[in-house]
Symmetry: C2
Subunit: 573 residues, 2 copies
């Protein structure tokens, strides 16, 4: 019943294929990475016809499993050259799953033209749409929902993706139509753009009705899982109260908030851009301190931030508040939200863009702390000017263009909002992840800072390799389920967490999986990804942080990052 849509952009033909046996037990990142490994030559140009864009809902997506609406997008990354999976909330994952679509594989490359793929319960159609070329994601999503279905999920790219900018993301929308749920990292929007695919419109009235073999058993497990989430202080209180930006004050207090392009670990004006402040301003302006990015999420970590000019940025996440805030020495939430909004609309990853602006400030192209200059620069992206192009190409390229040595990237991808010198578990993840620097790939902030799932002293080396390894394995598995990674907070602290996820999977698929099988799945995903990267030429030399993290101390803890050869042990499993 479930199927794979194969969209050949060279011929503009769509094939509906049966799901091969070997893919039946895979979903989300597990499936995208497997298909990329199987079908994409590791040495192909990421923007050429031989790369593929693979979109897949998670194994639990489209059911009533709480917080299970993540959408995985995969391909060979034009930003990093590695395999890439980026995932996002929003409403399309659930709709795809309810349409019985296991994956969409977009391949080939048209000689010209802009297309929209429309997917309904009865039909799949590739529609020429040159009239939509160049549109920002907000207008585009509104036009497509108006044109086809007012409740559609729209997976799309902005002008940045069309211009094949290396840090372009793939957006989809929340229930209100905000096109701001981004599979942001690694430039998969440029891959979609290289294929002339502007949007995928997904129409389904169903949200929670994906097939489940044992409905009662599933319902009980889902209910139990929701309880586990709601009982944990992070997923049941912290995130639902202030959203992800609740982290700003915490990370600043911990002295690991990268400030002024990773020069120090504290920002004296952090409180001005914190989640508490954001909630206050958002609510005062008629926005929301928190809301859900997709139906059925009990964590509700997203927010709705109205700007003074009437536009609405939903959400402003912690990593974005950091990338445009402390990272650039900017402490004006409205400036941050404006930069965020521009990125959402033009179609750029906010973390990468913040890192890039940091590098440009380092180079003296813009002054640190100058929010208006940052906005003006970012507005160049949509115009495709040389400066706009440099910004869209990401921090590593900007560093090369301006001859900057302080460039916070691993495998070409910008390092996010936790300095690796005072949150060393995250440093291990940044260095060794198959994805390039990625905080979500093995979020050691848990044990390093939040004391979730135990405690590992963040400024010391001891235990960080093991911590990151275990988190990377667990994350890969979670990313296959379609569950939001934030469930990990509760799962790490509750011995019933992981068994309950397994129980949901077994009830849905009629399988007899054990917890060990889920761990094995996570390991297999990482092995697949690593196999692709090795074929693409990556070695242990790429599994390192930039030189300056090893040579410069980070205040206030005055620690360097010192793990090098030990990093090669992460993949010993």
């Amino acid at each position: 019943m479930s199927k794979i849509l194969r969209v050949n952009m060279t011929t503009q033909k769509v094939n509906i294929e049966e799901v091969p046996e070997k893919y039946l037990a895979l979903g989300g990142r597990g499936l995208t990475s497997q298909i990329i490994l199987d079908e994409v030559p590791a040495d192909c140009h990421p923007l050429g016809p031989n790369n593929k864009l693979v979109i897949a809902p998670g194994l639990l997506s489209g059911t009533s499993a709480p917080s299970s609406g993540r959408l995985s997008v995969g391909g060979k990354s034009p930003l990093t050259g590695t395999i890439k999976e980026a995932n996002a909330g929003g409403i399309t994952s659930q709709k795809l799953a309810n349409l019985g679509i296991k994956a969409i594989i977009v391949e080939g490359k048209p000689s010209k033209g802009t297309y929209v793929l429309r997917v309904t319960a009865d039909n799949v159609e590739l529609i020429p749409a040159d009239d939509l070329a160049g549109k920002g994601t907000y207008e585009l999503t509104a036009v497509l929902r108006e044109r086809y279905n007012k409740k559609a999920g729209v997976i799309c790219i902005g002008p940045a993706g069309e211009m094949r900018m290396l840090s372009a993301g793939v957006a989809n929308n929340d229930s209100e139509g905000n096109s701001s749920r981004y599979a942001g990292r690694g430039g998969l929007g440029a891959v979609m753009g290289s294929k002339g695919l502007k949007a995928i419109v997904v129409e389904s009235d169903k949200t929670f009705d994906a097939p489940v073999q044992d409905k009662e058993r599933f319902k009980a497990a889902a209910k139990k899982f929701a309880d586990i989430l709601l009982k944990h202080p992070v997923t049941g209180e912290g995130l639902p109260s202030y959203g992800t930006n609740v982290l700003m004050n915490i990370i600043n207090e911990a002295g690991t908030l990268p400030t002024r392009n990773f020069r120090t670990g504290r920002f004296d004006r952090a409180a001005e851009v914190s989640g508490e402040k954001l909630a206050e301003v958002a609510v005062a302006r008629g926005g929301k301190a928190t809301h859900t990015c997709h139906p059925g999420c009990v964590i509700r970590c997203s927010n709705v931030y109205p700007l003074p000019d009437g536009t609405v940025c939903a959400p402003v996440e912690y990593e974005t508040a950091w990338s445009f805030g402390p990272n650039l020495e900017i402490s004006d939430l409205d400036v941050i939200a404006k930069l965020n909004y521009i990125c959402n609309d033009v179609g750029l990853d906010t973390i990468e863009t913040g890192c890039t602006l940091g590098v440009l400030m380092e180079a003296g192209v813009l002054p640190f702390g100058d929010g208006q200059a940052a906005i003006k620069a970012l507005e160049e992206v949509g115009k495709g000017t040389p400066l706009g192009r440099i910004i869209g190409a990401g921090a590593a390229v900007a560093g090369k263009v301006y001859g900057v040595t302080r460039v916070p990237v691993v495998k070409g991808q910008g390092i996010p909002a936790y300095d690796p010198r005072a949150c060393k578990g995250n440093g291990v993840t940044y260095a060794t992840s198959t994805m390039g620097a990625d905080h979500t790939a093995g979020y050691a902030v848990t044990a390093n800072i939040l004391k979730v799932g135990g405690f590992v002293e963040p400024t010391k080396e001891d235990g960080q390799i093991e911590l990151s390894r275990n988190l990377q394995v667990a994350t890969a598995a979670i990313d296959a389920t379609g569950l939001c990674l934030f469930v990990a907070f509760a799962v790490l602290d509750n011995p019933e967490g992981l068994p309950t996820i397994v129980e949901m999977l077994n009830a849905q698929y009629g399988t007899d999986l054990t917890v060990d099988d889920v761990v094995a799945l996570g390991q297999q995903i990482l092995k697949n990804e690593r196999e692709f990267n090795t074929k693409a030429g990556f070695t242990k030399a790429d599994d390192r942080l930039p030189e300056f993290f090893y040579n410069e101390e980070l205040a206030p803890h005055n620690t360097k990052f010192e793990l090098k050869d030990e990093l090669d042990e992460v993949y010993n499993f």
Copy 2:
């Protein structure tokens, strides 16, 4: 008696060191690569304090050995990330050798400031020179020769190097003061710029008086070697008559002249930019069809091309005439010479810059064939505008900035003037050279096109691996001697060639080297370089050509490049 100058730019101190035993038998590329391997961490940032710039004359430089005035410049390349040696003619190699200087090692990084290193027989001094910051190489060289010594050799960088642009070269001058002899490739000018070193002024009245143990024996060998060069049709006739650009018509005729960013192998207006045409115009305007780039060269392949505006470009080499000519579909020699002149003055490698302009034309930023647009764009480099910065960053970066898939680079370095699909021996060299795409690293045009040193069918795979391997080994050895690579034309065809080089070395150093020892030296140099690259993370995946050479046929021979795994056999020695 010979010494190493170690210039610490962090402390601005110069140490004069004895030459360690292990370096005594090394020179040129042999010495620069050995020092880089020994002293530079392979994982350092190329523009940071831990990279080093090493400058060394060849083993025979400064003697009466004909055509032995090559100057080697080494470091970790900011363009490729590999080890790098680029060498140039000009008069400084001979002067350094006559001062008994085996190598200059520039290390560290000042907090600010611009410096000039002045080297005389009696003194070595690092002189603050902020007044010279931003000067083009022509004016700079004139000012420094006026200020210190009218016959000085000046090793210097232009504004591109100061701005740490990845394709900035290191210049030095000919006897007339033209600062146009470039160790151009790989961005070593950016390394020099990152260290705040604007120029090295080398003062010596001596040219041919480097110590020789057995002067009579040496004189006889040098005389014999000159005869060998003068008797060969390439080094005795072709090059002395028309310079390197004699190749334009030959390579076009062979159907391997990359045209319109490597789309076809023939340019219908090649004759308009050929060496024959260049010689005619140059002479008519009072320039020179050929002249020497350094005293004692018998090949005299350089030229002096006066532009209509009165400026003089000396020389216009074949690879430059190609990069700004057929590569961009430009057939106006004055435009080519003007682009060449701007590169020389601002301090950019002409091959890389031509490849970069080709990529920008591919992206639609400039129109193919529009010489005035190319000149205007190139003039942005000195101003450091975003477009100028993109141009200075080289073809690989420009490709990333504009999302271009047809980017002719290997290991980040632009592919020069011989299409690898119809001159496959060169393709093997581009793919596997330790330097990134480099025609001089193993110039298979010899046997593929010129029928020098045998004949290997250029469009077929057979024999190309062995051809490139042998040439790469021989080239590494020749690059250690300070002999111009062009001696290889004669050496390959004359069984007395290599023994005569060995005879000169033995007469100079009192050694008992054999021809086998010279081969072993070449192999050891390649092994050293490869060891550095492996440490820096390079693998066989990097030893490949860009995807499009494997997928698109080149007219008129309609051949693709098909060697992949076979390339891994090049280093089997």
